[in-house]
């Protein structure tokens, strides 16, 4: 059973002229790191929002770990972890307090939660800053706490919406390395969107490129690069498939 299975998914927002998603179909195998790539306004966030139950699809179906998003959302929410693009933290609380709060919302408490927080703070090099308010954190530190808040409950599917945007090289490297080892060690499926195509090329087992609400290609990065003429990188492939015009969506 795939981690994510999408079939003929369509979404047209109210008052929109064109559909945001135009009958996309996709399967994400379990325990893979899957890159969902595309220009601005291509339909990435809409797809993720449907998978998380934030937006209702106009038609089609989506299943996560065999469960229908439109019918079994409660069960699905227990199995997924979401790391939004925004720093979805409370700035006046410390890193530790933020994680405790989100842990409590996942139903975690006491020593179990304390140990998990301690472990992840240590993994991401944040132990010394755990009791500082998030408002005093650097961009990289906020991104790392943002990521921890999405994995405290050990999800089976981790959805990351541009997790490395606006961070320095060191923090980006730390996050990428963690995602790789997290995927390998725990068999977690990671669905990841990014505009950092070099990062995606190195990190992902498989990618799909979406444009104008349609999947334009899908497969392992190296195989897709090899298939395309005069193409030596994922970025070159992306440009060839989606064009050079700037998207102002």
């Amino acid at each position: 059973m795939p981690a994510v299975s999408i079939h003929s998914l369509c979404k047209t927002y109210k008052d929109a002229v064109e559909p945001s998603l135009n009958s996309i179909s996709l399967e994400i195998p379990r325990a893979t790191i899957f890159g969902f790539l595309g220009p601005n306004g291509a339909g990435k966030t809409t797809t993720l929002s449907i998978l998380c139950g934030l937006v209702k699809a106009t038609s089609g179906s989506a299943k996560i770990l065999g469960k229908d998003v439109s019918k079994e959302l409660k069960e699905i929410k227990k199995c997924i972890g979401m790391v939004p693009q925004d720093i979805a933290l409370f700035p006046s609380l410390t890193g530790q307090e933020n994680l405790t709060y989100f842990g409590n919302l996942y139903g975690l408490k006491g020593k179990v939660l304390e140990n998990k927080i301690e472990h992840y703070l240590d993994t991401f090099g944040l132990t010394n800053n755990a009791h500082k308010r998030v408002s005093q954190y650097s961009g990289g530190m906020k991104r790392r706490i943002n990521l921890i808040a999405g994995i405290l409950h050990d999800p089976q599917l981790l959805i990351l919406d541009e997790p490395t945007v606006g961070v320095d090289v060191q923090s980006r490297k730390m996050i990428s390395d963690f995602l790789k080892s997290y995927n390998k060690a725990n068999g977690i499926t990671i669905l990841y969107t990014s505009h950092m195509l070099d990062e995606a090329e190195k990190l992902c087992d498989e990618v799909a490129i979406i444009d104008h609400g349609k999947i334009v290609t899908q497969g392992a990065p190296q195989a897709l690069i090899a298939q395309q003429e005069n193409c030596h990188s994922l970025e070159a492939l992306f440009i060839q498939l989606t064009g050079r015009s700037v998207r102002d969506h």
């Binding site: 998380c52 139950g53 934030l54 937006v55 209702k56 409660k74 929410k77 227990k78 997924i80 979401m82 939004p84 693009q85 925004d86 720093i87 979805a88 933290l89 409370f90 700035p91 006046s92 609380l93 307090e97 405790t100 709060y101 989100f102 409590n104 919302l105 996942y106 139903g107 408490k109 308010r133 808040a149 999405g150 409950h153």
Partner: protein, 429 residues
């Protein structure tokens, strides 16, 4: 379930306690507001109770009527009578000038011949009375009335209520003087001009008017009509409803920074998180209420105002306070959900609370409003809250009596939460 609620309460507590401006807005500003409003609004209450006014008296009569009027006004202890201004005897023109300049609130001008006319009328009444009884009377000296009247000149800025009160007081005094003169004339005509019989006439008194309570006062309850008793509860409710500003702002901030999205993706019901938020802010509102009541009881006397009397129904008071807190908090949740930017929420939230308070009788009593406004005001949650507290403080009623107000406040709260949830659900679909 409780873990999610308690975690949210703790999060809100930490967030609020670290926001110094928020704490000031929530706790100190309302305290300043109720003290200031009670002090400011104390003046109109004292207009008719304790204040003493400087009054100009233009005495063109210089006889019995003007003397008795002067004595009567002095005896009320509400007026300080001035017949001279800077050593100069006051005439009508000067009185008008001084009142118009705002140096005196009003002037009384007694026309020349007032005593003669009143005396003449009294004699005429007595003569007719004796004549109708078949007794001899001397009516030869009667003259025609000249239609004289005592003029009252008010400061152009004086309020209607104040004018009515002064006019009534003057009418009462003049009527008393006329009655006295009729009795004296009758005494003279009957030949009881001296001794015990005249005293008996002079001791005839009309029935007096006395204010009594509409409730049983046997258990020590007293009539409470002062600015503290009216203003502290009214402005407390007003301040409690201002929770919509920080609460609406906090919700919008969560929406803007993406936390709301994360919270909605997390397992479990979002309603529980909202419940935690509501419970926390209800607690904040209740603490506001308690603090403001304590200020009413203990701090008001420090400003020369009477202490707030809380009545005896403390449990009912706590219930109505919590009901008001639920209504205010839920309204804040609704505002924070409907509007998409903090400036929209701030503007609408504050203006709507001011409007709801104005039509709800916080600024001026409902009964002085036009009928249509009274009908509209009856739907203001601030009116329900104020009515409930007045029932406890001023009418000395209990929990059962204020149940309709409590039910309305909690019903309003439930509707606000329901609508907010519905809008939130709709916006995500």
């Amino acid at each position: 379930m409780w873990l999610r609620i308690s975690a949210t309460i703790k999060k809100e507590y930490l967030t609020l306690t670290r926001d110094k401006a928020g704490i000031t807005l929530l706790f100190f500003m309302p305290l300043i507001l109720i003290v200031l409003m009670a002090l400011i609004q104390d003046a109109p209450f004292r207009d008719y109770q304790e204040l003493k006014f400087d009054v100009l008296l233009v005495d063109n009569d210089q006889a019995k009527v003007s003397q008795q009027l002067l004595t009567g006004l002095t005896n009320t202890k509400k007026f300080s009578i001035h017949t001279k201004y800077k050593e100069k005897l006051i005439n009508d023109a000067l009185a008008k000038k001084l009142v118009n300049e705002g140096k005196f609130q009003f002037a009384i001008s007694i026309p020349k011949g007032s005593t003669a006319q009143v005396q003449n009328n009294a004699n005429k009444i007595v003569a007719k009375l004796l004549s109708s009884l078949g007794m001899p009377s001397d009516t030869s000296a009667f003259k025609e009335s000249h239609g004289l009247h005592i003029d009252i000149i008010f400061d152009p800025t004086a309020k209607s209520a104040f004018k009515i009160a002064i006019n009534n007081a003057m009418e009462k005094l003049v009527a008393g003087i006329e009655t006295d003169l009729v009795l004296s004339a009758m005494s003279e005509q009957l030949g009881t001009g001296t001794g015990d019989q005249q005293m008996a006439f002079n001791q005839i008194k009309s029935i007096e008017v006395k204010e009594v309570a509409a409730y049983d006062q046997s258990n020590g309850l007293t009539l409470l009509t002062n600015s503290v008793q009216h203003n502290v509860p009214a402005w407390t409710i007003f301040a409690m409803f201002f929770i919509v500003i920080p609460l609406g702002g906090a919700l919008l901030k969560e929406r803007e920074d993406g936390s709301l999205t994360r919270l909605k993706i997390m397992p479990g019901s979002y309603t529980l998180l909202l419940m935690g938020k509501v419970l926390f802010y209800v607690g904040v509102c209740f603490i506001q209420f308690v603090l403001m009541m304590l200020v009413g009881v203990f701090a008001m006397p420090l400003f020369g105002l009477p202490a707030l009397q809380l009545g005896h129904e403390y449990f009912a008071l706590a219930v109505i306070a919590i009901s008001i807190a639920f209504a205010a908090t839920s309204y804040g949740i609704l505002i924070g959900t409907i509007f998409k930017t903090p400036s929209q929420s701030l503007t609408f939230g504050s203006v709507s609370v001011v409007l709801l308070s104005a039509i709800g009788g916080i600024w001026v009593p409902m009964y002085v409003m036009p009928l249509m406004m009274q009908k509209i005001g009856a739907y203001s949650p601030l009116y329900w809250g104020l009515n409930g507290i007045n029932d406890l403080f001023l009418r000395h009623e209990g929990l059962l009596f204020i149940f309709p107000q409590i039910a309305k406040l909690l019903g309003f709260s439930a509707i606000c939460i329901f609508v907010a949830q519905w809008i939130e659900k709709k916006s995500f679909q």
